[in-house]
Symmetry: C2
DNA sequence: TCGAGATTGTTATGGCCGTAACAATATTCC
DNA sequence: GGAATATTGTTACGGCCATAACAATCTCGA
């Protein structure tokens, strides 16, 4: 009794990879597949169900959320935290600023720099969307017991902390 | 001793969310954050390090890989398996076909349908890239013991199998 | 001091993705 | 048999992302 095409495919692909000679690695395949598939489905679901109906996007919300926690912040710092490029921040901020959720302020002590800050509308939007996103996340992970959720989080964090070096 | 800005931010944000009243949920936040961050970093790393240097993209590779396992397949089936839209398949296939890695064949028994198939060049490309991607995935998950990797995979699979219904 | 080098934010270009609209073709059901 | 409906693949549009190039500005060392 198949739950969905992607789950069926995952099982089939695993057996096929298991038959292949090295360097094929059925365990590595399964792990990466499930991780990427779950993340993709969750992102898509949050985006279409929570954020798009509110005139936001998930990347836009994540930026708003960081500004909410951190207060006025430079784009370069948001780019570092989010592991995205400065141009991606510029793009996302353009969309948010067009919607009146974020404003750019110039910094007296550095003529190159800019500081991003929530507008009152941005503050209200992030609070409202955060509650809804949390509720939806709880639905997604309801199949796991609390101890399992903690364990999953710990395993993910361990991989993140020991990730291989990237080219910078 | 901080390993990277995003890990520091994760810890700080968790404490901030923990201070907030319901529906804020520090556990749900941490889990979703680590899942999405890891997936994003892994995708970016595989893309820039493995696929772009070979003239591929990660979504392009994933399509090639499915065609490799499944043989000639219709776009609509790939879209179902991959949980992406038909137009996204069309787009990715355009890029792959431009590179001579995939070809479209018409189907005699259905005038609307098209079948996608690897070219010999596409077959060679997917084999080579698959080996390299596997090696890189192994580096990413080297911090976990084999039993931990299996457990992580099982937890992810359980969430995937019991995911909430989406709007279709 | 002042020029070489680094940093910041933006733009251009190209790929990915979803939604919506569309034409062509199949299917269903009266 | 034929009309209403469904399905398939494509295109147009707008948003996201990275890389590369750029102008403006800052920093630091000779």
């Amino acid at each position: 009794m198949s739950r969905s095409p992607d789950v069926d495919y995952a099982a089939y692909a695993r057996t096929r990879v298991a038959e292949m000679p090295a360097p094929a690695d059925a365990d590595a395949f399964s792990l990466a597949y499930h991780l990427l598939q779950l993340a993709y489905l969750l992102v898509t679901d949050l985006e279409t169900r929570i954020h798009r109906p509110r005139g936001l996007t998930l990347p836009g919300f994540r930026l708003l959320f960081k500004l909410w926690l951190l207060g006025p912040t430079q784009p370069v710092r948001l780019a570092e935290i989010s592991a995205m490029s400065r141009s991606a921040v510029t793009n996302a901020v353009n969309t948010l600023a067009r919607g009146g959720l974020v404003e750019r302020r110039s910094l007296p002590e550095d003529g190159r720099a800019v500081v991003l800050a929530l507008t009152p509308a941005g503050d209200a939007a992030v609070r409202e969307a955060f509650g809804e996103q949390t509720r939806r996340e709880q639905e997604w992970f309801a199949a796991l017991a609390p101890a399992e959720r903690e364990q999953l989080t710990r395993l993910l964090a361990r991989v993140l902390e020991n990730r291989p070096a990237t080219v910078t």
